[in-house]
């Protein structure tokens, strides 16, 4: 890899051993993929995936402490994934005790985050790119981010350039302000390997469509045709909310880091079908294919017939548009089912900055009346605690389903489920 004089000096230890090792790590990372140079990070803020003070992540926290002690700090401030627990979410005393043990590093990590350069107190969310949060890359910006759902959104919807970096590596890129030039940083790797033809009779559920595509193309780039007729040609809040959930499912059920939607996403509009590689494979998705994919999700509750004890909606975190739409949906379903409040304890998760805006609307009080709790947590991390993994949870999130014992239902199914008498 070609290094500038300044970069070579870092590698040679002129700025200390820790920065030299960081440079060595990034060079090894890049050289695996044929990177011939480093390129500067241009986005104003980073985004970290490491979100919780998990007891067994001590190695990561020890490494971060070394960065702090040696003054190897990120050049840019950063947002990061949401916190793991919230006292407002119903849980048993045993679960509470287990949370304390599992997340025993939380206090230490919170202190480290400020020392490393956390953007602000509202920085904890997986949807850092929402306008209320304010970590919004421009088209062509080079990022050193992790968090699969944020990376795929930044690449696909915003046209930024970021690889699917792992936790710690994204921090290393921010410390040096450099990332190796490979993968989605380069034009040639942003072309589509797959044509996905959506031939359903109605708008596909974002979470199942994303899941189907992720499982099929795995880490390759899909160009999706036929979806714009259902979701439109404008990147408004409704459409970007759909794409947020769709992308998260492609990235968690597969390893998609970039997708193009015909007539909608920036590079698909700019290049049209020229962004499709010669010899691209085709995947046709119809109603039956979506049904097949949904039916393939395993049910791993200890008692498959158990009554659900908790429902999570908002993985990735809900946008303001979605909070309002879900409020209306819950109200409509309560009325239809003759209930006043949700019949399954239900948590909507969103960024604190989004919640602040939501609280200014009439919908905040209306939602409160339905009994739904609004929280800032990461449901995924919440459910990873051994005390919570046995609780029968339902969700409309394919990402959450993938990493937990939660059972997946579509938006309509879940809205009906949580608003009628639980038998």
């Amino acid at each position: 890899m070609f290094l500038t004089e300044e970069q070579q000096a870092i590698l040679d230890g002129k700025l200390g051993e820790t920065k030299a090792k960081i440079m060595k790590t990034l060079i090894k990372y890049g050289e695996l993929y044929g990177a011939d140079k480093m390129v500067p990070v241009t986005q104003e803020y980073g985004h970290l995936v490491t979100n919780a003070g998990v007891i067994s992540w001590k190695a990561a926290f020890n490494l971060m402490q070394r960065l702090i002690d040696d003054g190897a700090l990120p050049r840019e401030k950063f947002t990061l994934d949401p916190r793991p627990y919230d006292k407002n979410i119903p849980c048993s005393p045993v679960e509470k005790l287990i949370f304390k043990i599992v997340y025993s590093q939380q206090k230490r990590y919170e202190k480290q985050l400020w020392q490393l350069g956390k953007k602000d107190e509202d920085a904890h969310t997986c949807t850092c790119y929402l306008k209320e949060v304010g970590n919004i890359p421009k088209k062509g910006d080079i990022l050193s981010w992790a968090e699969s759902s944020a990376v795929v959104y930044a690449n696909s919807v915003l046209g930024a350039r970021c690889n699917r970096n792992s936790g710690i590596l994204e921090l290393f890129g921010s410390v040096l302000g450099l990332v190796p030039a490979f993968g989605f940083i380069l034009d040639e790797n942003r072309k589509a390997d797959w044509i996905v033809e959506v031939k359903t009779t109605k708008k596909p559920e974002a979470q199942i469509l994303g899941s189907a595509i992720g499982m099929k193309v795995v880490d390759q780039v899909p160009f999706v045709k036929g979806l714009d007729k259902f979701i439109g040609n404008t990147l408004d809040e409704k459409t970007t909310s759909y794409l947020k959930d769709f992308g998260a499912a492609t990235a968690s059920n597969g390893a998609v880091g970039l997708y193009h939607i015909e007539n909608l996403t920036p590079e698909a509009i700019e290049m049209g079908e020229n962004i499709i590689k010669e010899g691209a494979k085709t995947y046709v998705i119809d109603d039956a294919e979506l049904e097949r994919v949904k039916a393939s999700y395993p049910v791993i509750w200890e008692d498959p017939n158990a009554k659900p004890k908790l429902c999570f909606i908002g993985c990735p975190h809900l946008s303001l548009f979605q909070l309002i739409e879900w409020t209306k949906k819950i109200e409509e379903n309560l009325k239809k089912n003759g209930q006043k409040k949700v019949t399954v304890p239900t948590v909507f998760t969103t960024a604190t900055a989004v919640k602040k805006e939501f609280d200014k609307t009439e919908y905040a009080d209306r939602l409160k009346k339905t009994g739904v709790i609004v929280s800032f947590i990461c449901p995924l991390t919440y459910s990873a605690s051994p005390g919570s993994s046995k609780v029968p949870v339902i969700t409309n999130s394919n990402k959450f389903r993938t990493y937990s014992t939660a059972r997946y239902y579509t938006d309509d199914e879940i809205a009906d489920f949580i608003t009628k008498e639980v038998k």
């Binding site: 790590t25 990372y29 993929y33 992540w57 190695a59 792992s166 710690i168 968690s252 014992t405």
Partner: protein, 148 residues
């Protein structure tokens, strides 16, 4: 016995029993139990409900054969932390090019610890078609993999 040749990501020489994921290996989901500071996680039983090949199978000390990893970008950090707990597979053998997420964890182990995990990638689809759970595997420093 069949022999395969791949690219050396981290060199090593060892013999281990194969654990084979024919589908994308989800690091976060698979290592969830290994990350629990409990004896039940010591042998790193695969905890990915969606991986019908190896769900529940112990991975610590085995030769983990896979196409590549998928899912959360915590994956590399997870590999680094599981390594710190001494619960990693003996080696990871990829049929495809190692993906950036797990590559990060592998390189972190290599550069920042004294216990790097040997890794070979680009072994080809034929390798993954041939190898089965329980087979014996020898790996060599030049990227040669023997499967018995």
């Amino acid at each position: 016995m069949k022999q395969f040749k791949g690219r050396v990501v981290v060199p090593g020489e060892l013999t281990a029993e194969a654990v084979v994921s024919k589908q994308g290996f989800n690091c976060l989901a698979s290592f969830k139990k290994a990350l629990l500071p409990l004896p039940s996680g010591k042998e790193a039983p695969c905890d990915d409900q969606n991986n019908e090949n190896i769900y529940g199978i112990k991975m610590a000390g085995k030769a983990l054969c896979l196409p590549l990893t998928i899912g959360s970008t915590t994956g590399g950090m997870i590999i680094y932390c599981v390594g710190d707990m001494g619960r990693l597979p003996a080696c990871m053998l990829y049929s495809k090019e190692v993906d950036p997420v797990s590559a990060a964890g592998i390189i972190l182990n290599d550069v920042w610890t004294d216990t790097p995990m040997p890794v070979i990638d680009k072994l080809g689809d034929e390798f993954l078609d041939y190898v089965q759970n329980g087979m014996k595997i020898n790996i060599h420093k030049d990227g040669t993999v023997e499967v018995f």
